[in-house]
Symmetry: D2
Subunit: 350 residues, 4 copies
């Protein structure tokens, strides 16, 4: 069977990882990446002879407005225009800066290619707001999908997991958000916590994906770069108690949830970041969210727990799922996510 041909628009923090993710899928071909300027990410690729993950060659296409002379001056090979790239793919992964994706969609429509947008775009850009585990089937054969944002993606992994195991009716979350990625200089916060108006968009988004769950929450920004931490209080369906044991069992069985403990040495988000580097993972990334077993406590009949969201890489698996759904490569949630997990080597630690 022919490999599905995939392009990536925007080679930033997410785009780099999407390209790597596609390069690792045995049933997909990374046709190329598109960007505007010779950023550090592009320069690093050039230093590596344009070779990325899995020893795959990454062909670079230029989006409109790019100055080719700047690439030539740096001896960075250019394979063509953004339109050229769109002409060669079945589906585009759009990780352009927020708002640009909606503009790119005009080209996708004109060229007849499907597309998957990241969380920064408005929901209206897509036919389906997608999560690999929570609503895979809704994405089947669809043209335009939008992924949940990093926090929502990880959060839903756990709520969907609990919901399938024991039934969930309501969640209240507190998001302790990291403000920047390692290497970011365009945003930051210094010695300050910042609060957003409640409810947080992540709670609202969860309800869009899982309409049978009532969700609300508060978000607080913190001046760190390595992983959001979210506390979740989940109430069982019809007032049914969720026990610590039930929750633990369900979480431990989920391929994209890594249950960890403080005693092992996972003291916080920085420990998980370090661990992913020590694993030798490309870019020091982790696809799984961390969930602290020591954080799981019962609050009356409700269950409370804390998770860690590796913001740079957490949406990559669900985006691969989205390709499989949109291109109808696998017919079910189970088959789609299993294929993604296999190629990304997710769950090998179980």
């Amino acid at each position: 069977m022919a490999k599905v041909r995939v392009g990536v628009a925007g080679y930033g923090t997410i785009g780099q990882r999407l390209a790597d993710g596609v390069a690792m899928q045995g049933d997909m071909e990374l046709v190329g990446i598109a960007d505007l300027a010779p950023t550090l990410a592009i320069r690093a690729l050039r230093e590596n002879g344009m070779v990325g993950a899995n020893n795959v060659k990454y062909n670079l296409y230029l989006v409109g407005g790019a100055d080719k002379a700047k690439f030539d001056a740096l001896d960075i090979p250019v394979a063509g225009s953004f339109e050229d790239l769109c002409g060669k793919v079945d589906i585009m992964l759009d990780s352009s800066p927020g708002g640009v994706g909606a503009k790119n969609k005009e080209l996708y429509e004109k060229m007849g290619v499907k597309a998957i947008f990241q969380g920064g775009e408005k929901n209206s850009v897509a036919d389906v707001f997608f999560h690999g585990y929570a609503n895979y089937e809704k994405g089947l054969g669809q043209k335009y999908l939008k992924l949940t944002s990093c926090n929502t993606t990880g959060l839903i992994r756990t709520v969907d997991c609990l919901d399938r195991a024991v039934g969930v009716e309501k969640v209240a979350i507190t998001i302790i958000r990291r403000v920047a990625d390692p290497g970011d200089y365009h945003r930051g916060l210094t010695n300050a916590l910042q609060i957003d108006k409640a409810p947080s968009h992540q709670a609202v988004d969860l309800m869009t994906i899982m309409p049978h769950v009532e969700a609300t929450g508060i978000l607080v920004h913190t001046p760190v770069t390595h992983g959001h931490i979210i506390t979740v209080l989940a109430s069982g369906k019809d007032g049914k108690k969720i026990t610590r044991e039930q929750a633990l069992e369900a979480f431990r069985a989920h391929p994209r949830i890594r249950t960890v403990t403080i005693d092992e040495g996972f003291l916080g988000n920085a420990s998980l970041f370090k661990y992913a580097r020590d694993l030798g993972n490309r870019r020091g990334d982790m696809y799984e969210i961390g969930l602290w077993e020591d954080s799981i406590v019962e609050s009356g009949d409700d269950i409370m727990y804390a998770i860690n969201i590796p913001q740079e890489s957490v949406t990559i698996p669900e985006t691969m799922d989205a390709i499989r759904a949109a291109m109808e490569m696998q017919p079910t949630r189970e088959a789609g996510t299993a294929e993604t997990n296999k190629y990304l080597r997710i769950g090998r630690f179980k």
Copy 2:
């Protein structure tokens, strides 16, 4: 009526503020402070001619092991020994480093003086675990009281406030803890969030003070210095719904809760720290906790909200309450806290 004579053991972050607090009470006399070494706090006092808040002279006594020669070399006047101080007071406020208070208690017992310990000591050091608003009457005439810690003090203000207004049965909290005070070099955290084993001690402590409420929670340390933020999810008694309006009305009426909004410019803990400095408050302190009106959301029948805890100064008012209870200066919670509020000018912004 004679003023109650008060001493302060330990002139650190809390002790300085306790001394200032006592100096501001019209019905108390600050007999003296005791410390071990010529710290920056003592040097600052010396630079001011040993004059502190309210133009009160702070007499310095030395605890055992102190090297008087060091004070002499710096021309810092010494009024006597710790034992001398204990002989002149009715009650001691003990803000020594954790564990030292328990040892000091032997002297208090021998000298027949009452004492109030801060949150760092074990509960067993005291007869009563005290909070001015939640259990003032329990402290009446008692010999040894222990204050709740900074987070617990602020948290209980709101839970007790809600409980008296509408009834509270259960709370689940997420504490976003600052790791250091401004000026701290002996502890810290750099670009990392750190999680503690759940449940947090603050939830457990709340249940000790308010035994009819079930509480649990998760605590995450963050690398900032200006104020903890806590999110609280409170469930009404007997399953009764708590509305946003009820909560808001109750919080607005509480003298030690300052309700603020993001639109006014209170973007986070640093805004409140700045505001206290701009008020010209001594040391840039604030006695009230902040509560964001924009954070109050309903979660089904439960209510969720976020508060800011000014960790350096929040326990001062409740410690003044504790003096009033222990010395039976006022017979009721209402009278005791009102007197404290008057002298500390709390609630003038209402």
Copy 3:
């Protein structure tokens, strides 16, 4: 003698402190402050009944574009327009956001009032680029003065001090810059050091004020809020050696340089910030720069040392000097700075 009538345009971080500074000068009258919106700073003033430093009433005037209804809604009294204020003063202190001062100057010219601009404006806005200790006499009777920025102000205090004591020919500086003020949310840096293109503007500015000194330097931004640290390597005039003893003696004698040591407990910029709060200084501010005696080392014939710049308040004394120069209140550097020091209680620790 009639007091010099002073107004302050812009009641932000610097403007608040300028107003406080003027309020403390026995020979000046704070006629009023001007601002655009009911910021936290204005709200804090209102909470205090519009009373600021030294129990002085701060009259509020509104700049063009301000919406008076917003002030009325908050019961904040307004005394008139910016133009009204200009009509009542001899001199304006302009601490508007960068660039606005140049526009305000048109009004100052029209109204015939003198003005002193802060470091954010271009040098061309003023007749003299001013520093109280380094070139007081140049400001005498001038109409428009511009102050050096916070780093440059503190840096020049030490270089001018050394220069007058032993002669300085060349300096090379490294500025370890704090990126935000406490309370700032509009700028920040998270877990990152950022470098600027060399030479730093502070070195260039120093040469403008002290043209006989050659200066260069490198600036690195750090994610902290409490005080810049600058290391300085100074070379003596005509290759003459500067000894550690000479430098120490000169620094110790300067009223606006506070020499401190690590052994006393001054471990870094946060210790100095804490100390200023412990002193009970308004807003926890300090007018003096800190200079670590333990940092002074000889490098061949050159001398190297490190200073701490309290960015929020360091330029206040030199701005008071500037008023005295522009209004010809004192004829000499010695008399001008001494008068400022007296009213701001600078040097009382010597």
Copy 4:
């Protein structure tokens, strides 16, 4: 020719990278690593089937005091004791916690193996204080070598480079030190700069390695994790001027110095950390120091510049050099460092 057999004692931040470095050398064999407890680093290795860099199997040996049962419980294979490891190697790389290396030396002496210690040990532990570029020949055939610390290693690369190109007589440095590594929880600093007593040990160490250069400096700790920044002011030999062009040319030619610019996007230490991750380097590490071309300025006849030290990995190349010197694998500095550079792919970007 038989490969040199190497062991690594202590599999922490440095030890992990030393093991990886050895695994990449074509003329060395990584016999094994030794540690005390199943740390996160060991757990990550186990998750990877004990396979490390270059697909090399890492055999684990236990140091005295280790509890083998803990390793067994986690299914971590143990190859033997620390003594067993010493019996199979030609040379040990000791990256034990500071002070432990000196104790280990007794075993090395008993077993007759050579050893290379890291910067945390006292100089007296070794026969030679070593730097691959500055004094390679001194290490030839020696038994015990000690590496310079991370800052000193990077600093000396540039000073030695300048010295060989144009002659250097004196340097004055300012070290802007990161306080923790990513993943560290045992040390930290929050919103504070901390200063050490001058001169910094790095300046002193530089003089030990390069006795003909006079060096001094000031060190300031900053709350970040990604790379120290050092500013250097270097004076030419016999008062000879060093021009910007000379310096730039020399730096650009050095394999272990990566000259970068702000305009390319290298805004600070975090950009370099990000870039190393984007390169796909194992653990996101970089062996080269960064040197900002935009920071190079002339200060009279002296030259000033700023460098970035990737603290986790910078000493790895010089340690490989040290093995080559101690084992007399290459006779000269040029040959020794070139071989290291080849295997670590250093300088491929030139």
